[in-house]
C-alpha cells in the first residue's frame, strides 16, 4: 500500500503511549453529523441527520445509510468520502464470503473484516486512519445485532449507541429510554426523538434518514414520505 517512499507508518506512538492520529480521527468523527442506532427485540433501526450544505443540493442524490448485504445496513458519522471506501470494501468482502461458502455472511464476520481494514490503515505505510465511525445493523441467525466500529478498528456490540456531534446528550437520552423488550416501531420512535433532541431547525423527512431491519431480514432505507409518517406518529 502506498509508494515505497512512504513505506513507514504515519501513525506512530507518542511518548505517552498514545496513537495521536487515531485520536485526531475520533475528533473528526465527533464533529460529524449525529447518527444513532437502537437494537430492538425484533429488529434494529439506524438513523442519521442529513444536513446538506445548500438548498441547491438535490437531496435525492445523497444517501448516507447504505446496504452492505440484503440483511445488513450501515450508517456513518464523520467524513463521507472515507465511508464510501469502507462501504465498497465491505460489500466486496460479503460477496467473496458468499462465493466461498454459499451462505450469507454473518454480521459479526462482516464487522470484523471491516474493522480489520480500518486497523490496517492505522498501521500501514503512507496512509492515514479513516475519519469515520460506523454503525452496522444486521439480522442473521443470531438475531438482531448492532455494532459500532471506530477509526482505530475496535468494535463493540451495542444495545443502543450514538456518534457524532451530539453524542453525549443522545447517549444519555437513549440510556433513559432503552428497554430490552422494546419493539422495532418503538425503537424507530425513540430514534426520532433522540435525533430531535439535538436537531437545529425543523426536522422533516428530507433532512433525516432512517434505515431498519426486522424479522423479515431485509434491510431497507425508508423513503422521505415513510419517514414523515413516523415523524407525525412521534409528535
Amino acid at each position: 500500500m502506498g509508494d515505497s517512499q512512504y513505506s513507514f507508518s504515519l501513525t506512530t506512538f507518542s511518548p505517552s503511549g498514545k496513537l495521536v492520529q487515531i485520536e485526531h480521527a475520533l475528533t473528526a468523527v465527533g464533529s460529524g453529523q449525529t447518527s444513532l442506532g437502537i437494537k430492538a427485540s425484533n429488529g434494529v433501526v439506524i438513523a442519521t441527520e442529513k444536513k446538506l450544505p445548500s438548498i441547491l443540493v438535490d437531496e435525492a442524490s445523497v444517501q448516507k445509510i447504505q446496504t452492505l448485504t440484503p440483511n445488513i445496513g450501515v450508517v456513518y458519522s464523520g467524513m463521507g468520502p472515507d465511508s464510501r471506501v469502507l462501504v465498497r470494501k465491505s460489500r466486496k468482502q460479503a460477496e467473496q464470503y458468499y462465493r466461498l461458502y454459499k451462505e450469507p455472511i454473518p454480521v459479526t464476520q462482516l464487522v470484523r473484516e471491516t474493522a480489520t481494514v480500518m486497523q490496517e490503515f492505522t498501521q500501514s505505510g503512507g496512509v492515514r486512519p479513516f475519519g469515520v465511525s460506523l454503525l452496522v445493523a444486521g439480522y442473521d441467525d443470531k438475531g438482531p445485532q448492532l455494532y459500532q466500529v471506530d477509526p482505530s478498528g475496535s468494535y463493540f456490540s451495542w444495545k443502543a449507541s450514538a456518534m457524532g456531534k451530539n453524542v453525549s446528550n443522545a447517549k444519555t437520552f437513549l440510556e433513559k429510554r432503552y428497554t430490552e423488550e422494546m419493539e422495532l416501531d418503538d425503537a424507530v420512535h425513540t430514534a426520532i426523538l433522540t435525533l430531535k433532541e439535538g436537531f437545529e431547525g425543523q426536522i422533516s423527512g428530507k433532512n433525516i434518514e432512517i434505515g431498519m431491519i426486522g424479522n423479515d431480514r431485509i434491510f431497507k432505507v425508508l423513503s422521505p414520505s415513510e419517514v414523515e409518517d413516523y415523524l407525525q406518529e412521534a409528535e
Partner: protein, 246 residues
C-alpha cells in the same frame, strides 16, 4: 522520526490535525478559489448548462487552447475550476475511464457513476500520503436515461452531490446565494431560461457584462443528449436576450 503528533507534518501531507481536520484538503480548496475564476452550473427541466469565465492571461496566447470545459464522452461534459494542469490530468483519466466503461459494459457511463468515480479517486488522494489532492472542483453534466438532466459537483475532499444549481471558484458563495434565491421554489427552467440564469448569475456576481469571447458555455439537452460547447455566436444570442430582458 517525530511523526504522528502532527509535528508540523499535518500541513504537508494528508494526516489529521489535532482538531481532526485535513489541512492539505483545505489548502486544495483554497487553490481552487485562488485561481480567480468563477463557474456556475444550472439544471433545468430538460437541459443543464455550465458557464465559466475565460481568462486569457496573455494576448499572445492562442485563445482556442485556453479552455476549462472538456467533453469526456459524446454525452458527458466536465467543467473544471482551479489549477488547469490538475484539470487536464483529471480529464484525461476520466476520458479513459468512461471509454473503458463503455467497452466493458456495453452502455454509456451514466453521469452519477462518473461523478462517483472522480470523487472516489479524490478521496484516495486525501488518505494516501504519496499523492496530494488535486486543486480542482469538477462539475459533471449529462442526461441520465432514467433521471433526466443531471449536474454533479466533485471537490478535492472527495465529496460529490447532485445539484439543482451550483457554483465553484473565487466568488462561489455569492453565486450560491444568488442561485438559492432563483431556485427557491423549484422552478422548471426551459433551455433558454437555464442558460440565461447561469449567465446572468455570473454577470451579477462578477458585476460586469461580458462579451461572448470572455465566457465559455457548455450545455446538454434532453432532445439531442449530446454535450455541446456553445460557439461565440450562440453565446451572443443569449447575451442579447439577457440584456433585452433587463
Amino acid at each position: 522520526m517525530s511523526r504522528g503528533s502532527g509535528g508540523g507534518y499535518d500541513r504537508h501531507i494528508t494526516i489529521f490535525s489535532p482538531e481532526g481536520r485535513l489541512y492539505q484538503v483545505e489548502y486544495a480548496f483554497k487553490a481552487v478559489k485562488a485561481a480567480g475564476v468563477t463557474s456556475i452550473g444550472v439544471r433545468g427541466k430538460d437541459s443543464v448548462c455550465v458557464v465559466t469565465q475565460k481568462k486569457v492571461p496573455d494576448k499572445l496566447l492562442d485563445q482556442t487552447s485556453v479552455t476549462l470545459l472538456f467533453p469526456i464522452t459524446k454525452y458527458l461534459g466536465l467543467l473544471a475550476t482551479g489549477i488547469t494542469a490538475d484539470a487536464r490530468a483529471l480529464v484525461q483519466q476520466a476520458r479513459n475511464e468512461a471509454a473503458e466503461f463503455r467497452f466493458r459494459y456495453g452502455y454509456e457511463m451514466p453521469v452519477d457513476v462518473l461523478a462517483r468515480w472522480i470523487a472516489d479517486k479524490s478521496q484516495v488522494y486525501t488518505q494516501h500520503a504519496y499523492m496530494r489532492p488535486l486543486g480542482v472542483v469538477a462539475m459533471i453534466l449529462g442526461i441520465d436515461e432514467e433521471k433526466g438532466p443531471q449536474l454533479f459537483k466533485c471537490d478535492p475532499a472527495g465529496h460529490f452531490f447532485g445539484h439543482k444549481a451550483t457554483s465553484a471558484g473565487g466568488k462561489e458563495q455569492e453565486a450560491i446565494n444568488f442561485l438559492e434565491k432563483k431556485m427557491k421554489n423549484d422552478p422548471e427552467f426551459t433551455y433558454e431560461e437555464t442558460v440565461q440564469t447561469a449567465i446572468s448569475a455570473l454577470q451579477s456576481v462578477l458585476q460586469e457584462d461580458f462579451k461572448a469571447s470572455e465566457i465559455e458555455v457548455g450545455v446538454v439537452r434532453k432532445e439531442d443528449q449530446v454535450f455541446k460547447v456553445l460557439s461565440t455566436d450562440e453565446i451572443d444570442e443569449h447575451l442579447t436576450a439577457i440584456s433585452e430582458r433587463d
